[in-house]
């Protein structure tokens, strides 16, 4: 079963060196050194900063709700922006995502749809918010529009990818029964992508909630505005209170998202009686 050792020991490499990996690490180290130099990092600045930081944290604690009305109003407005933007965004991304699926749609549909999605994704929601502030004025409407665009970019892309990954055999089977186009979509396509769709819809709701707290910094409504003005007034303890309430709101949002996922992603049981 086992071979007796007859060969004289040869020089063999136990661990052949991986040159690509080594080069990679060297390049990385060189880059970090270079970039740090370019960005004008100096040790002094850093240390001064740490000192500042300690004082800063001192001023932030204990958190104080300096203007409860303003805080509440801002939070509620952010919540509203997130809800409305998510619902409209989801509604709009469904058809756009569907049209962007290359396995189901012809080229004259997929090209424009994919272009819209790519454009929507390329810009940070804050930049889009700035544009909408110019177009529709300050306030929540700009924020809602900006986040709708962001949602279309995110959900549209993932939805299209999910559709492109489905098994076409199932679609074929439904088509073979003579079903109409809508029915083919409803029974052949949607059941396969529904699970993933719920996943990224809830993710986008969470993401919009986060973003809605900060588009206010450029005037698009929500708690971001309150936060920014508190910063400018050096009201750091109020800033701390606002941040904590934002975190709390987002955590509640995550809990809700988990609830929704739990309800819809249960393996549907068929009940007979």
């Amino acid at each position: 079963m086992i071979e007796p050792v007859t060969r004289a020991p040869q020089r063999r490499h136990a661990f052949p060196p991986n040159w690509w990996a080594r080069i990679g690490w060297l390049v990385l180290a060189a880059y970090v050194a270079y970039a740090l130099g370019r960005l004008d990092f100096s040790w002094d600045r850093f240390v001064t900063g740490l000192d500042n930081g300690a004082r800063f944290i001192g001023r932030m604690l204990p958190p104080r709700i300096a203007q409860p009305d303003s805080l509440a109003k801002g939070l509620i407005e952010s919540l509203e922006i997130a809800i409305l933007a998510s619902s409209m965004g989801i509604l709009l991304s469904l058809p756009i995502g569907l049209f962007a699926a290359r396995n189901l749609m012809p080229v004259w549909a997929t090209w424009p749809a994919r272009a819209i999605i790519a454009a929507a994704r390329s810009f940070h929601p804050v930049i889009v918010a700035i544009i909408f502030v110019k177009a529709v004025g300050f306030g929540a409407l700009a924020g809602i529009c900006a986040l709708v665009v962001a949602s279309i970019g995110f959900i549209g892309k993932l939805f299209a990818e999910a559709i492109e990954e489905i098994s076409l055999k199932q679609v074929e089977a439904v088509r073979a029964t003579g079903a109409s186009f809508m029915n083919v979509i409803l029974f052949g396509v949607l059941p396969q992508v529904f699970g993933r769709f719920i996943g990224f819809a809830t993710y986008q709701l969470d993401s919009n909630l986060r973003n809605s707290t900060m588009v206010g910094i450029v005037g698009a409504g929500g708690i971001g505005g309150t936060l920014f003005s508190a910063f400018q007034r050096f009201d750091y303890d109020f800033v701390a209170a606002i941040l904590l309430s934002i975190i709390a709101m987002i955590m509640v949002g995550e809990v809700l998202a988990t609830w929704v996922r739990g309800v819809f992603l249960e393996k549907g049981k068929v009940d007979e009686e």
Binding site: L28, Y31, V32, A35, R38, L39, D40, R45, F46, G49, N52, F56, I76, E77, L79, E80, I81, I83, L84, S87, S122, F123, H124, V126, I127, I130, I131, K134, A135, V136, G137, G139, A140, L141, I144, R210, N211, T213, M214, I217, V218, L227, F228, F231, Y236, L243, I246, I247, M251, W259, V260, V263, F264, E266, G268, K269, V270, D271, E272, E273
Partner: protein, 270 residues
Amino acid sequence: MNPALAHVESRTWRRFTPRQRLARFSVYLTLVVAIVLSARTVEVIPEFLYDAPEQMRDLLERMWPISWSHYPKGVHDALVETLHIATLGTLFALVMALPVGLMAANNVVPNRLVNYLAKLVLVSSRSVNSLVWALLFVAVFGPGALAGTLAIAFRSVGFVGKLFGEALEESNRGTIEALEATGAPWSSRLAWGYWPQVKPAFWSIALFRWDINVRESAVLGLVGAGGIGMALDTALNLFQWDRVAMVLFSIFSVVVVAEIIVTQIRRKIL
């Protein structure tokens, strides 16, 4: 009728159990109530809405032609700085996220308290938007790229740490068990058992986050944290829309290039 079926009473088929239907209904109801309430209380000034197409057209007219000449002086350096912020920030985040992600994985560190604390750190990092982190760091370290880099780093730790921890929890237990049985210490089990398994996931997460960070770094300048955002801020404040268009275009190009780079690396290495 087929005699075999004659005695069968008609049975009802329901897709969901009553309990499931109730749950689904509650979700729908909550959503609808939330939407209706929001729509009614949100402050939207109708005049602005009607005015919008006119305003958009005005904006687009002012943005065209794009001020190409603005690029070398006003834009290029800032753009490069933005890339540095994104890359350095991502690298720092990776370094910070490794230990925290480890501590959050219940198979690597089986201590529930440590897991919970680590997850808390990760959630807090994610909940604070990078712009807000930037505001904080500008207040502490002064305006400039240092604040921006730290903002990106601190924001990304939560993202990378969470996904990294999940990848660790999904690794093959049998392999680790075998190393345990040889008497290997915890650190060797980590280096030889867990790391080879999560390496591909780790680099994938890193690339993904870098891509997102390129977008995020572009706006940090709006609050003074360095990068192209500052050029954007300047142009906006001066209402130089053609320059604004130039900045937007360069941001767009950089984002597209970053995506291409990431897709190529993905294909080659992963």
